[in-house]
Symmetry: C2
């Protein structure tokens, strides 16, 4: 792995910032260098939230994502805005509960009804971000399963750790 | 306020990433746009950790801190590395428990023995970052006290919220 640039986007409230923090932490546990950036505010409120993670074996000189190796989107508008930034050999993972229409792209596409899955399983849509992390881990192997689990445990409240990990597992199982 | 660029640096384990996240969150509660970036990994482990927060009334086009309006350092090596990036009319806040020698600078300097204070008051150095946030809030008013308190409450574990807020208060009192 030289350098992997990941962008996670969705609506405010879908947990894309937490997902980015967990991904970044897992990569650090894997011994990588990581820069993790989140944007909040007027742009985020009620609209698109964005979290970026750059993972590298080497020192990271330029800490902004320009072209994504991996784009995760949990919202149609977020997809429409960011799809142009995915590399031709990149990976696109969408929450198909909300992303219904994917314009033509050369990226490899994974469609996961994450929100629908977690609402059915846990009665709460807030775990959709963990399910997306499970799908990401299985589909791309950019971080190891062990460190991702540890990062989730370390980042979420103790009394929700089990549900978060179950949602993560469901995400892994959603990738064949 | 047009745009304020803040860098917080110290050793890994001093809580500079959490401090940056809390500052960013408080600014969002104040209605600002915020980009918050943290670097981890080989550069951070046992060495310098860095967290950057850009706060603006307007949309933030370029999400990297080049010149700091405010530099917070909790470690001598971090100061030596970053002092050159402080603007001439900038503000420098150091944890003088660890930063003993400040090269000549035109920035306004606040020296706070943060780690010493919190070790004496709470028997644990991990609250030094909250004390630095209190000093920052009082010295610069870049965020309101109300939103900073709320951001701390929202970011730390419930059973440590009181100590964290006490450390923050001590930081405010350390600025005359």
């Amino acid at each position: 792995m030289k350098k992997i640039e990941v962008r996670i986007s969705g609506l405010g409230g879908q947990g894309v910032v937490l997902a980015g923090q967990i991904l970044g932490r897992a990569a650090v546990y894997d011994g990588k260098n990581v820069v993790q950036t989140q944007s909040y505010g007027a742009e985020a409120r009620g609209s698109i939230a964005k979290s970026e993670v750059i993972i590298s074996d080497d020192k990271i000189g330029f800490p902004m994502v320009r072209k994504c190796d991996i784009l995760i989107t949990m919202n149609q508008e977020a997809l429409d805005r960011h799809l142009k930034d995915v590399k031709e050999d990149g990976v696109l993972i969408v929450d198909s509960t909300y992303v219904k229409k994917i314009p033509e792209t050369k990226a490899k596409i994974f469609k996961i009804p994450a929100t629908e899955h977690v609402e059915k399983a846990f009665g709460d849509r807030i775990y959709a971000n963990m399910l997306m992390l499970g799908a990401l881990t299985k589909a791309t192997s950019i971080v190891s399963e062990k460190t991702m689990k540890k990062a989730i445990q370390d980042a979420v409240a103790k009394n929700t750790a089990n549900i978060n990990e179950e949602a993560y597992q469901k995400g892994k199982e959603s990738i064949q």
